[in-house]
Amino acid sequence: MIRKGDTLLFDAPPTVAAWAAAGGKKESEGPLASAFDFVTQDAGFGEQGCENWEQAESILQRKAAELCLRKADTPRTKVDIVFAGDLQAQCTASNYTMRELGVPFAGVYGACSTMAETLGLAAAFAASGMAERAMALTSSHFCAAERQFRTPLEYGAKRTPTAQWTATAAGACLVRAHGGQGVPVLSVTFGRVQDFEVHDINNMGAAMMPAAASTLLRYFAATNTRPQDFDAIFTGDLGEVGSALLREQMAKEGVPLDNHQDCGCLLYDTQGQNVQAGGSGAGCSAAVLCCKILPMLAAGQLRRVLFMATGALMSQTTFLQGESIPGIAHCVELGGAV
């Protein structure tokens, strides 16, 4: 393992041995519907006696974790550590999931960037020999996020065109130390917080774009690569507005992105599903990773990609206090299946 700039390069790359995604109703009506391992039409899990949205998110997250372990044919006792996070205050969705799983657990908060953050940490642990099997796990739930960050679900309000829709989804990846089958994690770049004084809570894509551009530029500089070296560059949850801004900025930096796609625009049909500028939430990029990116790498349809999830790191309190919205972006480089 060597470090170049902010990028950790794995000479003996760990592999993503198995992955699974769980989603709700809107996700089951989107372009990636058939790729989910589990979808529910009742995201409240009322039939299972679930009483609130926070609990429902935990159930969804646990489904993803259990399905991932089943696909890997690995009992939970063989998992050395789980890095998990979500959008709820104090990351309670993950805490209650991990209460059931009973595996060593490190809670992670990176807002919508959590999937890349947990995957990066899991890969670093597996690459350095500190874990044989490490899991990355994240979720978000539209209803839990809405009642915590915005307004009650029955409250009538119009969404602005730049707003994004929090995905009801969870994703899990099991990372194994070098040597096994799966999709190799070639490098990880943890981002630096960027704040360009965006205050509009309904325009998260714009708030997170500078972080995405900054991490990408640092990665390209450190590894001496160009966008053309990759089959695709996936950003997590910039949405339509943030994606347009990212392409504009990268062109200005002299590194035009012609192979960029955004998870927020891939999870939903942004024209037909009434999600305004696209999807968001920790579960959004997790679901796209597990439903599209990893399967395509495993099938040989992609050979080298960047998966970079972005997060907006404000809270309701700092927003009300007039603080601007800091953004972060973590980048994971994935290779063709071995």
Binding site: W53, P152, L153, G156, A157, K158, L245, Q249, E253
Partner: protein
Amino acid sequence: MKLDPKQYDEMVNRASPPSPVVRDCVWAFCVGGAICTLGEGLRQLFLIWYDKTLAGTLTSIALIFLAAVFTLPGWYQKLAAKAGAGTLVPITGFANSVVSPAIEFKAEGWVTGVGAKIFGIAGPVIAFGTLASFVWGVIYWLLGKVG
């Protein structure tokens, strides 16, 4: 990075699609107008039996009741997603802002959830409305003393 906050602000404004103002206003006008017309119908009905003040109060109560009924199955939220200010500005919007947290925060208990959060959105309206009326009351009283 070739970017500064001021420059970025302009970039964001250019990249962000504007709200469809004309369509929004047509929706707001039609739905807001319809709610007020319904209110006028109810008022005329109550005027058959009651005086103007009481008929006005009963009209408000009836509209609030209807707003609560429409809020329950999520219809008010669905209408508001299109109608915007058309459902926000009438008294039914005020009712929706009281009923929706009551339903939402039942999960946190009757006292600490429903009781504590029920005026979470409408509270400022009542607070500043009452403050403004107090200020006007004092001025009105002073004007009476002077005049």
